[in-house]
């Protein structure tokens, strides 16, 4: 019998082995382990985990079915709320959401909700179980911009309500950040992402790739000429930020977006693909978020010695604890309390090193975190040939600048209300990183659900009025 205070451990690839491959790190539970872990759930009447989930999955109910071995039933319960359970079970920050609220967590470890969700979703895929499509179509056309987590969720929810939904994707592959951003070893592209995209399509959703809204066609044209009655914008936050330090234009300096896109979307790590990548022998990744960990662990797998350079201390690293832990196990070196001041180059403008300054933590700032302050005279250099800037992203102005009447705020984020995703333009809804700035997959999914709710309300009222 399991120790009720501890999670059933999950199997992982050995760090030494996985540091040299792109296979998935976490191997997940098998049915026996999942059913055992499920017995740890005490099925609270007032389940706090549901409130902690941005898409409100009925967690105790799906765990109960899992415990009893009714995995298909468990999957149907999850897919009532989530279009991407195999994705969420892998990349959601469960520790601060569902698992963060779990009663078990007060005395011991919370129930491993994320790994259970992953098990159920993977089981359903392996057994070819699909979500249930709408029985009746209502004939109303809705356009969704972006096939990332916000767009897929919104489209899935609307299709279940009977809408005729088309997703427009700017890149050549469906999935948005799930395919270009998150690496294979954390989120397998074919096995997991493509399969969940297929599930959304099985609900009747159409996806048109290679369409850049604002360039290939505008929102106004979609509504006036192509018959779409409402639009959801889930275009994400794709513009990379740079530091503005000397040497940043040198050869060998990448944004994390470029580095990850070349690898994840373009498969530059495989020799049978045409896209090149400068791999580097010694790589510095600047930043401490999940994206920085992804870039660092990718560079490591391409054979480099990798340094993470972050200006605060370990306690303030914005990345998930599990990601930091995995990165360390694999051999990523953390240079904390350090901030780059210059990128050094040779006479051909190739990177030769990075000059940093030591930092110490001062008083808390507006974010509540202690503010990093430079230690005068503490500059030091690290010899590197590649620098990856992972400082965050901001929304792309392509859509807002080509859509009349769509208001944005100072940070170029689209202004939309939280409950329904309503923007300043009638019939146009928005959510995810395009509204909030860079956040997580599950928050984007929550916003996609809100948008679907908003669009359904808007169109229902419109047709009631006649």
């Amino acid at each position: 019998m399991a120790d009720v205070l501890r999670k059933v451990p999950v199997r992982e690839q050995d760090p030494k082995v996985r540091a040299a491959n792109f296979e998935e790190v976490c191997l997940g539970y098998d049915e026996e382990e999942a059913r055992e872990e499920a017995t740890r759930c005490i099925n609270c009447k007032n389940a706090k985990c549901i409130a902690g989930c941005p898409v409100s999955i009925n967690i105790p109910a799906f765990i109960k079915e899992t415990k009893e071995g009714n995995i298909e039933k468990a999957y149907q319960i999850i897919s009532e709320s989530s279009a991407l359970p195999a994705v969420c079970g892998r990349v959601c920050p469960q520790e601060s959401q569902c698992e963060g609220r779990c009663i078990r967590g007060i005395k011991g470890e919370p129930v491993s909700i994320g790994k259970l969700e992953r098990f159920v979703a993977d089981w359903a895929r392996e057994h070819n179980i699909k979500p249930t499509p709408a029985t009746e179509k209502n004939g109303h056309k809705v356009a969704v911009i972006g096939s990332g987590p916000a767009g897929l969720t919104c489209a899935g929810d609307l299709a279940k309500l009977g809408y005729d939904v088309t997703i427009f994707e700017a890149l050549h592959k469906e999935g948005g950040v799930l395919v270009y951003g998150i690496p294979e070893f954390r989120l397998p592209k074919e096995k997991v992402v493509a399969a969940e995209v297929e599930n959304v399509k099985s609900l009747g959703v159409k996806i048109e790739t290679n369409v850049i809204i604002g360039k290939s066609v505008t929102i106004d044209e979609l509504m006036q000429e192509e018959g779409f009655e409402a639009v959801f914008i889930g275009s994400g936050a794709g513009l990379p930020m740079f530091m503005g330090i000397p040497g940043e234009q040198a050869n060998g300096v990448f944004s994390a977006n470029e580095y990850l896109t070349r690898n994840n979307l373009m498969k530059a790590f495989r020799s049978d693909y045409d896209t090149p990548i400068a791999m580097g022998k010694k790589v510095a990744v600047v930043g401490g978020g999940n994206v920085a960990m992804d870039a660092a662990r990718t560079a490591l797998r391409l054979g480099a010695e990798v340094h993470i350079i972050y200006r605060r201390s370990e306690a303030e690293l914005p990345a998930r604890v599990e990601e930091v832990h995995h990165a360390k196990e694999e051999g990523v070196i953390f240079d904390l309390l350090s901030n780059p001041v210059e990128i050094l180059t040779d006479d051909k403008d190739w990177v030769t090193g990075i000059r940093c300054i030591r930092m110490e933590l001062g008083e808390p700032d507006a974010s509540g975190r202690r503010r990093p302050v430079e230690v005068p005279g503490s500059e030091f250099e690290i010899e590197v040939d590649t620098v990856i800037m992972s400082l965050g992203t901001s929304p792309n102005p392509l859509i807002s600048s080509t859509t009349i009447g769509l208001d944005i705020n100072r940070r170029k984020c689209i202004i939309a209300d939280e409950e329904y995703g309503q923007t300043s333009k009638e019939g146009v809804f928005a959510g995810g990183d395009a509204v909030t700035g860079a956040a997580t997959v599950i928050l984007a999914m929550g916003a996609g659900k809100a948008g679907a709710k908003g669009i359904h309300k808007f169109l229902s009222e419109k047709y009631k009025r006649g």
Partner: protein, 295 residues
Amino acid sequence: MYKILKAEQLAANIYLMDVEAPRVAKHCLPGQFVIVKMDEVGERIPLTICDYDSEKGSVTIVFQPIGASTTKMKDLKAGDYFEDFVGPLGRPSEFTEMDIEELKKKHIVFVAGGVGTAPVYPQLKWLHERGITADAIVGAKTKDLIILEDKLKEVSNLYLTTDDGSYIRKGMGTDVLRDLVEKEGKHYDVCVAIGPMIMMKFVCLLTKELNIPTIVSMNPIMVDGTGMCGACRLLVDGEVKFACVDGPEFDGHKVDFDLAMKRQQMYKSDEGRALLKEQEGDTHHGGCGLCGGDK
């Protein structure tokens, strides 16, 4: 899938294709570009738009095989398909937004070099259709590398020159521009230069001297073409700009060409490839197709 309607070889190493892409064709304006991806394993290649027909829903591209993907692309025939074709990308040329009566008063000269001749054609055509016939100076290394001569003659006052003197006259485009201004007393309000970066740099040095405002079209390394990856960043007037969303056209007198050329070498030039190979040894599988790293 995007059907190739026509495929022809224009010169020794320059190819033209008409591709069926109705959404792109409908929204194209001079100055913009597309990204094509041949098949699943292909690279995303930013390419010049040479012409477009919104009725037929077709877009004409012109390219020069350089890397692995473009080398395979040249073998495609009419009836074949591109897996991906996206656009139009980038901002249209500034003049497309200007008042036509104002524009008619301007004396415009285009200077094009090599494959850069292709994107100049839709600009000249657009102007010609609105009653403005600009001067166009087209330079090529040698006679065999001149493209689109007849089409350009229909829409511009064409001045051709070859580096080796094998056709019309001997010399660079910059020599022709200097002669037109200094010997023939021509006055230009604006110059548009499109071609290899080194050529655009030299045109800009000359037009600065001649005091002609100059627009250039930048073609740095690019991945997504929507502003996401930041690979195409340039320094313009000391500020970081992304060629894909802020450009591709910029004030040529403000572009840091030396930096742009160094960045372009990263994957493209022999020097860059050699450097990559040297830095990465056997781990470099490149994709440039020429360095032997694939072997």
